[in-house]
Symmetry: C2
Subunit: 491 residues, 2 copies
């Protein structure tokens, strides 16, 4: 193996960082907390973007672009929003540099101070609702269904590649509606869309639910989320969709004449997923040999490695491979033929394992004689010798099988790691020994939630949407509860 | 017409702003100099992006992402770069807000001051070359062919939607090479790619050339550009590709072991086009009725408008249209059927003219009886009645014809507006009376160039690559010159 990884059992957290670095996904930059997303990592992100963008457009949304900067005063307009957000952020105070009078490079020109400071957007509700005010007069101007692909900045103190960075990339949807019902419908439509994307493309099983008040987005009436489970038993919030009620419309005075001709405030939603999903993708499926990518998001789905001693053998192998490549491409399969003569096959095998290429084909002189090829699966690390004839159809089916298999593996793991706890001792014991999700009764108060968090670091990940009503007693306070919620220690 | 535009002859500049606003391309935001790109404008930009991205990938480039922030000290590392760039930019000095002790919203927390200020990237050479230092050790690590789609900020004092905004969207390519020849080849490959994109997709004829030293990118050895002409006779720089020599490698100490095993500095290029192209697209082709979009970049290529009085007629028309739409879509044509009952056909005609939809089909009861449809071209504003049978093939060919015709119209206009001037008086007279490009002899000095600019506002747009050698005398200084350069007043 060219590049040694820390193993998961040794140190899960270090394994993750090693993998992100060595598989060329991302690295830390010279700017504290900001990452460089490297070409291989960005190629995966582009596949995610392309699919999400398709799904947004199929559901009637359009893309647009709003400014990076938000005037400071906008943040104080929505009271809950400013409490939840405005504190840790990047603030632009000046607009000019000048040569250092002492000759040491450049300094900030003190005369170029902005009258009002500008905040780099941590999220765009405020600037967007300030804009919507001019776009909306009548119910005929509604709904507005807009999404934006953008960078945002939150000045996080502790950062970790993809999972929590000062600058990250995301999409943020911001919709405006004439009725409460329609806005709620949109909120749910999107959380469903996110769940479908996570499960069908990322092969990541998710639980849909509602956030408790403490965990709700600042300014939202209700926050829906998808929660997933990583291999170390920690949960990861993978996407959120907020029903914002009329809060932002009231803060920015956005009214419309409804069908009855009277003025009403507009109803809002917002929703987003980010490059955080890259972290989820890595942590959910990968192993001690490197990435395991679901075929639908793999930049390279099939790699072909020639095994040869003499150049004449390489030529004969290449001839066969040149026949195969167009057949694979015709099926929409992305394929790379690595005939680089500077590296040994063993090095290449390890490299493509590290990079998570789902299928590897290896071909040597004996395969040529026998009309065979060696077919290896990244997810199971199994290999078999199969007939070269018709291999493109075998590969096509195998890619689908791998996609499903990776999902099922993650689903089994997730399901095995949802445990019920009925007492406080049981709750603490499961958390300590096993992690995962704990389904437990809760009395519904923020106070209890806060105490549980302080004592165990576990938070309520969500109140699942699909949930049986069940009377019980809060594991912490003993007060009555009407259903279980999901606790976990989260990223 | 629903929304009146200022005419071009009345006030070209106002016509442009009216059009950008009324056709829903973009608008000014609450933040000085920053624009909101509205969904219709963004849809055009997405078509540009998709095509450019395809072309970059076909030529071996990958996308990546580098931080928004650049440490202030990075700017002073490349001397010419800091002189040309670092002055007007957005500067982050603090990272936290706090509640105003006097209760008035939020204020900047003076305790959260950054040790070193961060500059919002005006361009990313510095942060990227600082990163490349760790990526490059040997000639085997080269070339690096990376592109980034990003937002950048330059604190412009006078802004104008798309053409010059404080924040804009662009792509910036940054490549690293082992040899000077290879880097120059890359620089030229990209300027050719830009020219192909402008001509084939934007229907915008361009002249490829080299910038004079005064107009060169800060830090470049040579800047190649494509220059286009707007309908008011002003030139617009539409893309640049820079050969950076070893300047940034030296500034950021990026060396590699070459094939001979000795250390050498890496050779660099950078290149970009931006949302400025949206301004070029609007100004090159549009007319007093609104946008004229080349079909290859039009979000809606064909609009179908039903003409009816009774709902039963609408039903019959819709039935025919429902047959047609899948046939158009099968040919990859984007089509909108506007059966909105709240608007009259005349209003719709004007609206889609304003939006630049290349082809309009209108269908009334008489057309149903006759098996016909009315076909209107946006570019020429002509219409004719044609057979409904096989209309999809007619439309397909017409879209190609329109694409070509818009290009040829712009090409003729551009060619008619390149004039030779052999004396200073002639030069000034052409500039004043006609505008356009002036091909004139120049003595090659920055001094003369500067004086011409001061006296006439005209600048050297480029020294064309395809150019006959011709001995002559500088129109300003009378000194000898070996070839003509192109002057113009530019956006």
């Amino acid at each position: 193996m060219a590049k040694e990884l820390t193993t998961r059992s040794e140190n899960y957290s270090q394994w993750y960082l090693d993998l992100v670095n060595k598989a060329d996904l991302a690295e830390n930059s010279a700017v504290r907390g900001c990452m460089v997303i490297k070409p291989y990592g960005y190629a995966i992100w582009e596949k995610m973007q392309a699919q999400l963008d398709r799904m947004f457009k199929e559901t009637g949304h359009s893309n647009a672009y709003f400014p990076l900067f938000i005037p400071k005063s906008f943040f104080s307009k929505e009271a809950a929003h400013v409490e939840g957000f405005a504190k840790e952020c990047a603030i632009v105070t000046h607009y000019r540099l000048k040569n250092d009078p002492e000759g040491k490079g450049v300094v900030v020109d003190p005369e170029a101070k902005l009258e009002e400071e500008l905040i780099i957007r941590p999220t765009s509700e405020t600037i967007i609702w300030n804009t919507y005010r001019n776009w909306i007069q009548s119910h005929r101007d509604l709904p507005i269904l807009i999404n934006q692909w953008a960078n945002v900045v939150r000045w996080e103190m502790r950062t970790r590649l993809f999972l929590r960075t000062a600058e990250f990339l995301w999409q943020e949807g911001h919709t405006a509606h004439a009725t409460k019902e329609e806005a709620i419908e949109e909120t749910l439509k999107i959380i469903n869309l996110y769940a479908e994307f996570a499960e069908q493309y990322m092969a990541l099983p998710v639980i849909q639910g509602v956030k408790s008040e403490n965990e709700r987005f600042a300014g939202a009436v209700e926050t829906y989320c998808i929660e997933s489970l990583m291999q170390d038993g920690k949960a990861l919030q993978s996407g959120t969709s907020h029903f914002l009620g009329q809060n932002f419309a009231k803060a920015f005075d956005v009214t419309f004449a409804n069908k009855e001709g009277t003025l009403d405030y507009v109803w809002a939603t917002s929703w987003g997923v980010s490059t955080r999903l890259m972290g989820a993708l890595v942590m959910a499926h990968s192993d001690d040999n490197g990435l395991v990518l679901p075929p639908r998001l793999a930049p390279i789905q099939v790699v072909i490695v020639p095994i040869y001693k003499k150049m004449e053998e390489l030529a004969r192998i290449s001839e066969k491979v040149d026949e195969l490549i167009p057949k694979l491409k015709a099926k929409g399969i992305s394929v790379k033929y690595d005939d680089n003569d500077n590296k040994k096959p063993g090095w290449k095998f390890a490299e493509y394992e590290l990079k998570g290429v789902p299928v590897r084909l290896a071909m040597g002189p004996r395969d040529l004689d026998n009309g065979t090829v060696e077919l290896a699966r990244r997810d199971t690390l199994t290999k078999e010798t199969v007939s070269f004839e018709g291999i493109e159809t075998v590969v096509e089916k195998l890619l689908e099988e791998i996609q499903e298999s990776i999902y099922n593996k993650a689903l089994n793991f997730r399901n095995e790691n949802i445990r019920k706890a009925d007492t406080w001792d049981e709750f603490k014991q499961i958390l300590e020994e096993k992690g995962g999700f704990i389904a437990a009764h809760w009395d519904g108060t923020g106070e209890t939630e806060q105490k549980i968090k302080e004592e165990t670091k576990a938070t309520i990940r969500c109140i699942p949407i699909e949930q049986e009503a069940e009377a019980g007693k809060c594991i912490y306070s003993g007060k009555p509860s009407s259903g279980r919620v999901l606790f976990a220690i989260a990223y």
